[in-house]
Amino acid sequence: MTDPVNPPQTDQNDAPEPATSPLLAAGRLLAERGVYGLIWFGEDLYVTARYGRLADFIEVGDPLLHACLPLIGLESHIHGLKGQPGKVIDLPSVLIASSDNSLPRLNLTVFWYEEGNHFLMLLARSSSHSDLERELSKQMRARLIAETAVAEKSRELARANRELARANQDLEDFAAIISHDLKSPLRALRYATEDMADLLAAGDIKACLHRLEEIGQRTQRMSAMMTALLDYASVGRKAEIAEPVATRRIAEDITRSLAIPDGFTIEIAGRWPEVTTVAAALDLVLRNLVQNAIIHHDLPTGHIKLEAKDGRKSFTISVIDDGPGIDPTHHAAILLPFRTLNPRPGSTGMGLAFVSRTIATLGGRLEIFSEPTTKRGTTFRLVWPKTLDA
């Protein structure tokens, strides 16, 4: 067996003694190495005779280098054997690969057969099935399986750490939202009630009523924000049921059910897979992205393309619009709760926050591509897993 850790260092090992005649040397090698095949070839490296079962892969008349791939490139080294009695080229444990794995693993030994200007190649079956080699193979396999398991555990740990980091980030985000986004309207309420006290003292009932109306609007707004925030916090905590989903059908349903303004077209392209996922989540995400593409468009006409690409463990859907684009400095901020670049009446600024959180909860991710200084349009690309983590 070849020791892969300490392989032969040169092509001059196991050399027959120079004083011995070449045929006797060949005979000795035959006996010592358990040779089952012989090939003779002349100076032009064409096969002139062969013997033995192991030489079946090559025919008399073949150029040696046509069938004996391991010798390709060694022509000059083979010719170099001439006149150097005892020198051999040894290629241990070589398998000439075939689609049906029909050829045996061989030890190849080439030396110059002095009488007749011929080279001789000895073919011995490699002892690849020895107990030692089987054990080595077993150990290599076990090592790889162990390393793969460690790598998988590491990836799981990394995933868990990312989830923990996300949960911590959520906590920080909620704290920031409560302290900023809700504190501000609360402060406004306090000022309004203080104003009302002054207005009542001054007897200005009309201004007081106006203030009361403002307070009503602000409390309604805060109530809507609180509802949205609770919904946002519950994303991923509800028992979501995964089911077989034809993703293209979801895209088609969305385009049918949305109010598409005249002048706008929606195209569905690419390869949409059938997957097992939470249909409602995918619907929510796509619906929000398409709606946003329409609402935030700055022209009376526009085109929105929904393009899917299938993958082995995940698939991607790109929502590509030709609107004004989004400055890269805002790409991260627009995914946060209560953030919008174009405030509109009745909007809580939670649409993309829901989208982002829903995708992240299911193990996917959302990428934004837009560079309005050089090109119109925005692409929201969502990477959606084909199966849900347990």
Partner: protein, 167 residues
């Protein structure tokens, strides 16, 4: 048609055999059988606009050889080497750097490219390579023997480069 020897080097289990089997037989075997010694394959690259047809003799080596491979008779007259790592096992990527350095020292001027294999297992996660590998000036291919991604492309590019350099 000229024939040129290409070595596949890398740690055990990085997918050397899977890559060459995908290339030559267009198949992927899920059962792992370690290569003991070397397996030699023939692959013919068809002519293109820029080069003639070429035969690659691909030597798929035993991952246990490590740097000892560079002194082995197997390496004689190699025109090129692919140094392969498994994207999911960091130590195999570190080994790529050692083997790359060894190949440069023992076979200066030969074509060398790095293959980061099993990218299908990333499953959407970002590719996180060791800094030294990211900044290595060698050609780096990201492949999947399982899906076939980039496999043929890598070998065809190597063939074109071997001919261009007259290796």
């Amino acid at each position: 048609m000229s024939a040129h020897k290409v070595m596949l080097l890398g740690e055990i289990g990085v997918g050397k055999s899977s890559l060459v089997k995908r290339l030559v037989f267009d198949r992927f075997e899920t059962d792992y059988k370690p290569t003991l010694g070397v397996d030699v394959y023939r692959y013919e690259v068809p002519p293109s606009k820029t080069h003639a047809a070429i035969t690659l003799i691909i030597w798929d080596t035993d991952g246990n050889f490590g740097e000892a491979m560079f002194r082995h008779v197997y390496m004689k007259e190699a025109s090129a080497a692919f140094i392969i790592g498994d994207v999911t096992r960091r130590p195999t990527l570190d080994t790529m750097l050692t083997l790359s350095k060894g190949f440069r020292e023992h076979f200066p001027g030969r074509y060398e490219a790095l293959i980061v294999n099993k990218i299908d297992l990333l499953d959407g996660e970002p590719l996180n390579l060791p800094d030294a590998l990211s900044h290595n000036r060698k050609r780096v291919f990201h492949t999947s023997a399982m899906t076939g991604d980039n496999v043929q492309f890598a070998f065809h590019e190597a063939a074109a480069e071997i001919l261009r350099r007259g290796l």
